[in-house]
Amino acid sequence: MADQALAVFTSNCGYDASFMVITELSCEKNANLSEVAIRQLAKLIENVGALISQLKPETLQRIMKCLTFLLSSKRQNIKNWALQICMHIFGQIGAQNYLQLMGYVLSQEEQQFMKAAMETRKESKFKDVKPLNVVLKERKSMLGDSTNQMNMQGYGSMDNQENFPNGYNYPMQ
């Protein structure tokens, strides 16, 4: 029942007071309490969307300070939640506005810390994905003689643009 009430709260009550109370609870020492609160904070921010910039400056400051604090938490799941929220806000308001917001509400040290945490997140998220042209080059070098076999089957070489089956010259990057 309390969960239902919280769900209704997060979807209907995107007030400054809501953010103030929830951010305060997110920074509590009690880990369970903090985790429940940070989830509510994530839902509130998701529901508010791009309108987050219309919150009062004090509220935005509290949110950013709270997120910086949570990013340094010992618990990995709390850190992950905080990072996801940062990335979400970043996506909602754009890089320029996010940097401006950070500059407005955080100290130099806090800004550096948050930037570093977000960069780590970006790198770890995409570290396994290589650009397509790199993958294609690697495959080509690995194939070696087998490309000749492909030629014999009528598919043509990757270097020869005129040999595509439909006759169209695809621009190669």
Binding site: A2, A5, V8
Partner: protein
């Protein structure tokens, strides 16, 4: 031998009864009921839910007025009372998009988060 106290009926949101107009006399009755036994408190919470449903513009003020008593009911350990009180809070927050219920956030959210974390 003492007869067990019959719990008053719980009304779902759709079936909440219409309330009389919110006159000073009616508020005095609600005040006295809040201070009475838990069954009276339960009926008082039902009356508040009706006010929230039928007079949404008064919701924030009325619920805030009784916030201390509602918090006591939530911690009283009576399941029926807890259910009715949480329904009242939920229905108040449900109005959040059309009416400003910001006043009610501070007193109740801490309790809800604590209950949810248990």
């Amino acid at each position: 031998m003492q007869e067990p106290v019959q719990p008053p009926p719980f009304f779902e949101y759709e079936f909440l009864p219409q309330t009389p107009p919110l006159t000073p006399e009616y508020v005095a009755i609600l005040d006295s009921m809040m201070a009475g036994p838990w069954t009276d408190g339960f009926q008082c919470i039902t009356a508040l839910r009706s006010i929230v449903k039928f007079n949404p513009t008064l919701a924030a003020d009325v619920v805030c007025r009784y916030s201390v008593a509602i918090l006591e009911f939530i911690n009283a350990g009576k399941t029926q009372l807890l259910k009715n009180s949480l329904s009242l809070i939920k229905e108040t927050f449900l109005l959040g998009r059309s009416v400003n219920v910001e006043k009610c956030v501070d007193p109740f959210i801490r309790v809800l988060v604590k209950k949810s974390a248990l």
